[in-house]
Amino acid sequence: MATDAMAPVGTAATPKIRSELLQQRARAARWFLVPMLIALAIVAGWPLMRSIWFSFTDATLNDLYGAEWIGIGNYLRWQVLESGTVRYRGVLADPDWWNAVWNTVRFAFWSVLWETVLGMIVALVLNAEFRGRGIVRAAILIPWAIPTIVSARMWGWMLNDQFGIINDLGMKLGLLSAPVAWTASADTAMTAVLIVDIWKTTPFMALLILAGLQMIPKDIYEAAEIDGVHPVKQFFRITLPLVRPALMVAIIFRVLDALRIFDLIYVLTPNSRSTKTMSVLAQENLFQFNNFAEGSTQSTLLFLLIAIFTILYIWIGKVNFEGGDR
């Protein structure tokens, strides 16, 4: 029954007859798209191309326009020593870079996982009918509406080891024996970042999933109830498969966001190896150090990584869709 209902969701009807009128409309549509494409090319395309170009040069911020082409040296260069040992240099051979990649991936994995699970629970609750649902739905969005810098500062104070409310509560409830320096200690810094990020973005996840939940026709559940299907089975056999398209989109949005995380980590934690992500490292090289070219290289690699991930995700996601459709 559930599989029958899925068929119309996955496939969209494509018009086979290309009438004169349709062609005309397509032409008009193209004209309407032109301003948007130009705007995108200026604000996204041009800076992107320039960053990529800088990554192949020896640019520094003191002399941006005197940058000269040096090939792939910023990515990887090697030098054969007299003894025959090969010495690798460049971002791809830099342990700091791989440490940042690992931090970013770890952060993205855990934050998105928790946000998906919690977001699903929140969405299911909000999907139920109860009094004051509208107000609750609006209220739950507040963490998402607060600018990240502000919430990072706010949590920074809440997690502070001397004045923070979290340590205070933990001590009073007897959960902590001594105040913990959440953001300072290398062991807890990443956890602190994860907590704040999950707090902030779960509402976003919940909202997207909720939209998916509301698309599911009510009569399926009615039919399942008549057949005596257990609610847990209903969730795994009806809700989850039907909300999957929305869930996939929500997850990809979040992963893209998580992979370029910068502001939260920059504001909340000390600038140490245990939390430094790709964006933080790139920013440091671009603006703090005299390594504009290296920073551009790192930005370009970050861009490539995100692009590859997105393509893979869509590709693998699609394969699964078709498998489900039989």
């Binding site: 003191n62 080891d161 150090f289």
Partner: protein, 422 residues
């Protein structure tokens, strides 16, 4: 291209000639902490009244690292919105290209200032910025607690460690559960470079990169100094000190929750404010010395300066403002209200200044032997050098490897960065 430049130059000079006599609208950036912004505003109001120009203050984050990133970006983009920048003492060699040469404009006043400060702001014969105040940190100590427990002011780090521990334990036994022995700046940022340079230098471990460009940091005395500091975290200092900058440590101190604090002189006036729990209960002394060969008390040279952007649409008025902020009268007010150290020697004997900040009488001597950070020998690489250094120290403080291990890696990293020459 040349044609365009000439045209631009021509236009600018026309505007200059036309605009010289008129009132200008200027902007100055400031990352001042405490009540520094209010003080700056009060001085700017005077400037406005005297000259007829208007000045807007653009507030910035207090971390010097954050400020530098932003200024770097603005200057690289040729931003014309900011006319006057407040610059850290270490920035001159890195930003020299983007600021106007003030040699000529300041020819009449440079001799009033300490020659070493003027020298620190000169890069390749170009006077990049005018000094607004100088900085050399102090050991803040609680006179009431030291007296109560019959202790004297520590002259070495070993003494500080013992005194801090003893007073902290005794106070905690009496129910003062929030008291700590010592707070400093342990976050991974420029401030940690300052703190750690003092530990290393005071222990006879050199100054990271010596004036001639030699990398000297990997030595036993330096490692011992950093290991000793690592032992403070979680014992006499709260573990959170690893995320503290100046203001966080002042927060703990000013609530009366620390026996000792390492901080810059700006905290003196604030700690004596009416809302301060330590008002009248503290004093300052030079930082302790280490032990071993060549040990002495060492203070990192700090200080802030004012520089004029090359892209300022109204450079003459901007230079006027910079000169005003570096002037003797503003420096005097600054010394009285903000307890910032003046860069003009005669002010250290000024009766009004000494009445407000009695410690300044001793500070001239401390300032005169302050240790500069290696910004001059490492040139445009300074920020990266500093970042590598503070990362190695922060790693050691957080228990991530011993100082000897981290300094060995640091030395190799610095060598890579240096290449054939800085």
């Amino acid at each position: 291209m040349k044609m365009n430049l000439m045209l631009a130059g021509l236009l600018t000079s026309v505007t200059l000639v036309g605009g010289a006599a008129q009132a200008a609208e200027l902007s100055i950036v400031s990352g001042d902490t405490g009540n520094g912004l209010a003080f700056l505003r009060s001085q700017l109001d005077r400037f406005e009244a005297e000259t007829g120009h208007t000045v807007t203050v653009v507030p910035m984050p207090s971390s010097t690292t954050d400020q530098f990133g932003q200024y770097r970006l603005w200057l690289a983009a040729g931003n014309t919105d900011i006319d006057v920048y407040q610059t850290d003492v270490i920035w001159a060699p890195q930003l020299a290209d983007q600021f106007l040469d003030l040699t000529e404009a300041a020819a009449d006043i440079v001799d009033d200032h300490f020659p070493s400060i003027i020298e620190s702001q000169t890069a390749d014969g170009k006077l990049v910025a005018l000094p607004a105040f100088t900085d050399a940190p102090a050991l803040y100590y609680r006179t009431d607690l030291l007296e109560k427990h019959g202790k004297s002011v520590p002259a070495t780090w070993t003494e500080l460690e013992a005194t801090a521990k003893e007073i902290m334990d005794a106070e905690r036994a009496e129910g003062n559960s929030e008291i700590w022995g010592f707070v400093f700046q342990g976050n991974a940022y420029e401030g940690l470079t300052c703190d750690a340079l003092e530990w290393v230098m005071s222990n006879g471990g050199g100054q990271i990169v010596e004036a001639d460009g030699t990398i000297s940091i990997n030595n036993e005395q330096a490692a011992a100094a950093i290991d000793r500091a690592a032992g403070w975290v979680g014992t006499i200092a709260p573990e959170g000190v690893l995320a503290y900058m100046e203001e966080e440590s002042r927060g703990v101190w000013q609530l009366g929750n620390a026996v000792f604090m390492r901080n810059w002189p700006y905290a003196y006036a604030l700690s004596n404010g009416d809302d301060s729990a330590v008002k009248g209960k503290f004093d300052v002394a030079p930082l302790p010395a280490g032990d071993g060969e060549g040990a002495r008390s060492a203070a990192t040279l700090g200080g802030w300066n004012v520089a004029v952007s090359k892209y300022s649409p109204d450079p003459e008025a901007a230079i006027e403002l910079a000169k005003f902020l570096a002037s003797e009268e503003v420096q005097k007010e600054r010394a009285i209200q903000q307890s910032n150290l003046p860069t003009i020697p005669s002010l250290y004997e000024d009766a009004d200044v000494l009445a407000a900040s009695p410690f300044m009488a001793n500070w001239k001597a401390i300032f005169e032997q302050a240790v500069p950070r290696p910004s001059a020998p490492t040139k445009t690489n300074y920020n990266e050098v500093s970042s590598l250094f503070w990362s190695a120290v922060h790693d050691t403080l957080s228990g991530n490897g011993s100082a000897a291990e981290n300094l060995e890696i640091l030395e190799a990293d610095l060598q890579d960065l240096k290449g054939d020459a800085w």
